[in-house]
Structure formats: structure tokens, C-alpha cells
């Protein structure tokens, strides 16, 4: 069980690190996917080892995967629109809304 949790921890913090440091929006999006996936691994693992008689964790994982797919589609659509309008997908420079 520890190995699974170590893997998910590594994925989670890699995601966090990428989310904070990447400038490219696509890279930020990928980092968010990493975080979500690490969470879903945790759900499945805890379900499998702690409550093997139940299925809630597994179903929640499936549910999360579906949500993240939808979220990714929306996010990519937004990024494409931003790129069309601003010719740029650098997070730090997308600050037109600030003023």
C-alpha cells in the first residue's frame, strides 16, 4: 500500500510544483491533471486496502475521471480562445482583466 501512496504523493507534489512554476498554460493544465490523478489513485487504493467490501472509492475515481475529462475539454477551449485573441498563452502575461 505504501508504494501506491508514495507514487501518488510524488505525482501530487510534482503537479503542485508544475502548477506554480510553469508559464505555459498547457503545462499548467497538465499539472492540474497530475494532481487530480494522484487523488484518484488515493481513492482507489484506500478503497481497495481499507474497505475491500465497498465500491464507493472506485466509483468516485471513475466519476473524477469523467469530471476531469470534461474540465480539460473546457480548459483547452478557453486556452485556444485566449490564444486566438491575445496570441499568447503565458500565464504571467494574461493580466488584461486586472485593470
Amino acid at each position: 500500500m505504501e508504494h501506491y501512496l508514495i507514487l501518488s504523493s510524488i505525482m501530487f507534489f510534482t503537479g503542485i510544483y508544475g502548477f506554480i512554476t510553469r508559464k505555459n498554460m498547457l503545462a499548467v493544465l497538465i499539472s492540474i491533471e497530475l494532481i487530480l490523478n494522484s487523488v484518484e489513485i488515493n481513492f482507489s487504493v484506500f478503497n481497495r486496502y481499507l474497505y475491500p467490501e465497498g465500491m464507493e472509492g472506485m466509483i468516485f475515481s471513475l466519476f473524477g475521471i469523467a469530471i476531469s475529462a470534461a474540465e480539460t475539454a473546457v480548459a483547452i477551449a478557453i486556452i485556444i480562445n485566449i490564444y486566438r485573441n491575445l496570441k499568447d498563452i503565458n500565464v504571467r502575461r494574461i493580466n488584461k482583466m486586472k485593470n
Partner: protein, 638 residues
């Protein structure tokens, strides 16, 4: 008696019409409208007086005049017991005041048609006169002390507006402000007094306050005291303070001489005959409470009145502005009425002072209005208020001369003119009650005769003068009120006043006490003869000799005992410097300072932290995660 409501409603309607639409009316039309309006109110008042005194007033079995309340609405409700009503109270003194006010007001309205002809703001003048009449009538018929206070302030406002009628004249503006501020200051005491009284008794109603010998006040305030004086004494003394302000008692009299800056008919109406007696009326209205709950205040009223009367009479002797002489004589005569109330007991012959006070109020209103209107007639011709610009006018203005003489004889207390009868009652009441006050009043009677005849001789006799324009008699419309008021000054003394008005509303009989009356007549004659010998021939050596021998005392009197300067010193040097300036400093530096510093601090704080909102999403995420980590760490440690 429901028609009495119209006595109030008509002047109010005239005020609204003349005030709102006056600029679109012809001046003459506004004047006639006002005159007709007050004329109708006067007729209604006479009708009310007739019905009250001869038909329905004598309803009670013990022969007392009962109070009639033909109209009353609840205006403000605080609790079931405490509520402010607006209504009309008809009782002997309010009916008497209705007659006095409407009569004098009607005379002044007619007179002003001539006197104010061609003045700018003629319509405004009549609007204000109607407002004043309305407020004063509302004051006298008030059913409760709070309604009285409301109209009391309205009267103050209309007085302010009329004193400042010539608003382009700086002295008039200053005088109007002075009158308003001084009386407002006094009204502060009045209000506090009302609040104390109603706090203990739980009512504002005159009927409830005075019922059963003011039993309610005596019972509810029993035992309560403050600074060694009973609460009832405090309340009644503070209420008297309001009355002292309006009625120009020492030391709150300073506004009245200056109020003479207003048009002369206004001085006659407001500052001689009606408004200034509001203080006397107030004390008379609450007389039962004064007698039974606060007799010590009544003693104080007597002495304040006597001092004021003497003080004003002495000043009146040296003034050279004829309207100011009349102003000080007004102060003196009103103080006379106050003394009469102060020496009065309750009921029967002991209540002679109360009756005498109201009687003097009644007669004084007519002859003092006559004096002012006569003076106005003289000023109208001579175009000056100064005695030095007059002299020998009896040849040019016979009617004014005769009517003025009648008024002078009336105020001096020479029979058979009205002033003699009322003054004699006051002297008799004082004689039986307090010999010191009697002596003071007796001397004042002599002084009154002296200064009135000094005025008379200086205007109408004296040396022949050469006038640039030959003086002429005033137009008929101004002479008619003079003649009518002169007639009233002759006959009103014959009214058996005690049959109508007394402290307990039970009529009683009076007779002239010839001992007192003879002494009063004697000193009045002495005063007249002294004035005659000094002033009849004009600028005499004897006068100058007298002035020189009096020296500083004369100067002090001429400057009204420097009372204005004392008040100026108190307000400027003490109140402004010692109280207002520190308060202003505190307000500027502490209150304002604290607020400013708070504002500036908020601004600085916000500019310090506004860098956080950079729009950089990743920075937000960083902060969020750092926060989450810190919370986690804390949770683990705990």
C-alpha cells in the same frame, strides 16, 4: 363655540395666501385682505367673549367660570396617558386675550395701510402680520403647555421676521438676531421646565395641572428635590425663565429696546401690546400651580418684576429716541404686571393681584399701542426717531397730539383714564401683601408719569422749531385707529374686571381704595408737574444743570447701565473664549483628528497590501498552498 376655530384659521389662511401669492397681488389688495381677515377674527372674538361671559360661562353652581374646550385633537401620542393635543381652551383670560389681540392687531392692520404705503415688501409685511396674529392667538387658546410652547416659538419667529423687516439695514438685522437669540436662550429654560413638570405629572394639560388647587403637581413632586430646592420650584422657576425672556424681565430685557428697529406699527402690536405680555400670560395660566406648588417662585417673580420695573423706568428717563423711551416704559409696565402676579394670593379678595395684573395687561395693551401708533405718526411726519428733531408739533398735528396726551394720562394713572384703575388695583394688591414692593411700585408710578410727560412735552411742546418740510397731520386711515384706541383708553377702566377674571375663576367685587389711589395720583401729578416745569419751555438751563449734577449716574443711565456691554463681555470674553474656543479646538484636533487619522491609516494599510492582488494566478496558488501547508502543520502539531 366651535366657531372659535375660525379665529385661528382666518389669519393662517391670509398668511398662506399673502405669503405664497403675495408677489402676484397688488399691495393694496394684500393689505385689505389682511385687514378684513383680522377684522372677521375680531368680530368672532367679541362674539366668543359675549357668549362666554354672559351665556354659557356661568354654568357651575358655585358661580365660577368653567373652562370650555370646543375643539381638541390628539396630535402626538407617546403613551396612553402622555400625549400632546392641539385644541382651543376658552376660559376668562384666554377670551380676554383674544379680544385684546384681535383688537390691537386690527388697529395696527388699518394703521399700516397708511403708514407702510409704498414700502417695498408691503405684501410680505401683511403676510408676517397675519402669521404673528395666528401664532399669538394660538398661544393664548392653547389647551396644554406643549401647544403653548409650539406657538410660543412661532411667535418668536414672526417677531424675528418683523423686526428684521428692513433687512437691508444692518441694525435691523442685528436687532432681529439679538431678539431671537435672547428669547431662544430663555426658551431653553422654558422647555426644560416643561419637561421636568411633565416628567413628574405625566401630563401637559393645563386643566389637569391646575385642577383641585394643583393637587397633581403637589402630589407627584412631593419629596423630590434637587440642590436643596424642590422639583416643583425648579420646574416653575425654569418656566418663568421662558416667560421672563419673552416679557423682557431683567436681565433678559436687552432685546426689546433694539427690537424698535422694526416698523413702528409692529412695535405697537408685538413689542408693546401683545407678544411681550405672553410671559405674564404664561404665569397667569399656571398661576394655580405657582401658588400651591411653588410659592417661593412667586415671591421671586414679584421681586424680579419690581427690580425690572424700577430699572427700566430710570433708563426711560434719559433715552432720547422716542421709540426707546416707549420700549423701556413697556418693560417697566410689564414688570408691573409681573409684580401684581407675585403679590397675589388665590381666590377671593386675596387674589386681587391676579385680577389687577390681567386688568393692567388689558388696559396697557390699548394705551401702549396708542402711544406707539402716535409715535409712529410723529415719526412719519418728522422722519426721525430723535427727540431733538421734534418740538412744538401740537400746532401741526392736533389729532395725534390729543390722542397721545390721552395715552400719556392713561399710563401715568390719572383718573378717569383706564391706566388709573388697573394701576390702582396693582398698588392696592401690593399694599396689602408686601410694603417694600408697594414702595417700589409707588416710586415707579411717579417715574412713569415723569418720563411719559418728558416725552410728551419734548415732542409736542418745547421751543418752536423751523422744519424743512412743514409737518402735517397723518392721513385719515392712520388717525382712525388712534381715535378708536384713545376712546378705549378712556373707557376700558370702567369695566368691572373682577366680575370676569380672577385666579380661581369665581367673580368677586372690588372697590377703589381711595387711600392708595390718592397716593398714586399724588405721585403721578408730581411727576407730571416736574416734567412740565423742566421740558415744557424747551431747552432749559435746569435740565442741563440737573444732568451735570448727576454726572456719572446720568451717563450710566443713558447707556442703559452698560447692560448690553456686560452681556457682550459675558458672551464674547467668557462664553466664546473660555467655552467655545476650547470646544472648537477639541472638535478640530481630537474628534476631527481621530477621524482623519483613521482614514489616513486605512489608506496606508490598503496601499501596503494592494500588491497582493497582482492578477498573477500562480502567485495566488502559491499563497493558497502555503496556507494549506501551514494549517496542516498546525493540525499535526496540535
Amino acid at each position: 363655540m366651535e366657531f372659535t376655530l375660525f379665529i385661528l384659521a382666518i389669519p393662517l389662511a391670509v398668511f398662506l395666501v399673502a405669503g405664497l401669492a403675495g408677489s402676484r397681488m397688488k399691495p393694496r389688495a394684500a393689505g385689505v385682505m389682511g385687514t378684513v381677515g383680522i377684522g372677521i377674527a375680531a368680530v368672532l372674538s367679541y362674539t366668543a367673549a359675549f357668549f362666554y361671559f354672559f351665556k354659557i360661562g356661568n354654568g357651575k353652581t358655585d358661580g365660577a367660570f368653567a373652562d370650555v374646550v370646543p375643539f381638541s385633537v390628539e396630535w402626538l401620542r407617546f403613551t396612553d396617558k402622555v400625549h400632546i393635543d392641539l385644541g382651543i381652551l376658552i376660559d376668562p383670560i384666554s377670551v380676554m386675550m383674544l379680544v385684546v389681540i384681535t383688537t390691537v392687531s386690527l388697529m395696527v392692520h388699518i394703521y399700516s395701510l397708511g403708514y407702510m404705503e409704498g414700502e417695498r415688501g408691503f405684501q410680505r409685511y401683511y403676510a408676517f402680520l397675519s402669521l404673528f396674529s395666528f401664532s399669538m392667538l394660538g398661544l393664548v387658546v392653547a389647551t396644554n403647555i406643549f401647544q403653548m410652547y409650539i406657538f410660543w416659538e412661532l411667535v418668536g419667529v414672526s417677531s424675528y421676521l418683523l423686526i428684521g423687516f428692513y433687512y437691508t439695514k444692518p441694525q435691523a438685522v442685528a436687532a432681529s438676531k439679538k431678539a431671537f437669540i435672547v428669547t431662544r436662550f430663555a426658551d431653553l429654560g422654558f422647555l426644560v421646565g416643561i419637561l421636568i413638570l411633565s416628567f413628574y405629572t405625566g401630563t401637559f394639560d393645563f386643566g389637569a395641572l391646575t385642577a383641585d388647587n394643583a393637587l397633581l403637581v403637589v402630589n407627584t413632586t412631593a419629596g423630590a428635590s434637587f440642590l436643596g430646592l424642590s422639583v416643583a420650584t425648579w420646574a416653575m422657576a425654569l418656566i418663568f425663565m421662558g416667560g421672563a425672556g419673552k416679557s423682557a424681565m431683567f436681565p433678559l430685557h436687552i432685546w426689546l429696546p433694539d427690537a424698535m428697529e422694526g416698523p413702528t406699527p409692529v412695535s405697537a402690536l408685538i413689542h408693546a401690546a401683545t407678544m411681550v405680555v405672553a410671559g405674564v400670560y404664561l404665569v397667569a395660566r399656571l398661576f394655580t400651580v405657582y401658588v400651591f406648588a411653588a410659592p417661593d417662585v412667586l415671591v421671586m417673580i414679584g421681586y424680579v418684576g419690581a427690580f425690572t420695573a424700577l430699572f427700566a423706568a430710570i433708563i426711560a428717563i434719559t433715552q432720547t429716541d422716542i421709540k426707546r423711551v416707549l420700549a423701556f416704559s413697556t418693560i417697566s409696565q410689564i414688570a408691573y404686571m409681573m409684580v401684581a402676579l407675585g403679590v397675589s394670593g388665590f381666590g377671593g379678595h386675596g387674589g386681587l393681584g391676579y385680577m389687577a395684573s390681567m386688568f393692567h395687561l388689558f388696559t396697557h395693551a390699548f394705551f401702549k399701542a396708542l402711544l406707539f401708533l402716535g409715535a409712529g405718526s410723529v415719526i412719519h411726519t418728522v422722519h426721525s426717531n430723535e427727540m431733538s428733531a421734534m418740538g412744538g408739533l401740537r400746532r401741526y398735528m392736533p389729532v395725534t397730539h390729543i390722542t397721545f396726551l390721552i395715552a400719556c394720562l392713561a399710563i401715568a394713572g390719572i383718573p378717569p383714564f383706564s391706566g388709573f384703575f388697573s394701576k390702582d388695583e396693582i398698588l392696592a394688591a401690593a399694599f396689602h401683601h408686601d410694603k417694600v414692593l408697594f414702595a417700589a411700585l409707588w416710586i415707579i408710578a411717579g417715574l412713569t408719569a415723569f418720563y411719559m410727560f418728558r416725552l410728551y412735552f419734548n415732542i409736542f411742546w418745547g421751543k418752536k422749531r423751523h422744519y424743512e418740510h412743514t409737518p402735517h397731520e397723518s392721513p385719515k386711515i392712520m388717525l382712525f385707529p388712534l381715535l378708536l384706541l384713545a376712546l378705549l383708553s378712556c373707557v376700558t377702566g370702567a369695566i368691572p374686571f373682577s366680575n370676569f377674571i380672577s385666579g380661581d375663576n369665581i367673580p368677586f367685587d372690588t372697590h377703589i381704595e381711595w387711600g392708595v389711589a390718592a397716593s398714586g395720583i399724588a405721585i403721578a401729578v408730581v411727576g407730571i408737574l416736574a416734567a412740565s416745569s423742566l421740558y415744557r419751555k424747551g431747552d432749559s438751563h435746569a435740565v442741563r444743570h440737573l444732568i451735570n449734577s448727576l454726572g456719572n449716574f446720568y451717563q450710566a443711565t443713558l447707556h442703559k447701565f452698560y447692560l448690553d456691554e456686560v452681556w457682550m463681555f459675558i458672551t464674547k470674553s467668557i462664553v466664546f473664549k473660555c467655552v467655545s474656543t476650547p470646544i472648537a479646538w477639541f472638535d478640530k484636533h481630537v474628534v476631527d483628528g481621530a477621524m482623519n487619522r483613521l482614514g489616513r491609516g486605512t489608506q496606508q494599510l490598503s496601499s501596503a497590501i494592494k500588491g497582493f492582488q497582482s492578477g498573477d494566478v500562480q502567485f495566488y496558488a502559491w499563497v493558497f498552498i502555503a496556507g494549506a501547508l501551514i494549517v496542516t502543520a498546525l493540525a499535526l502539531v496540535m
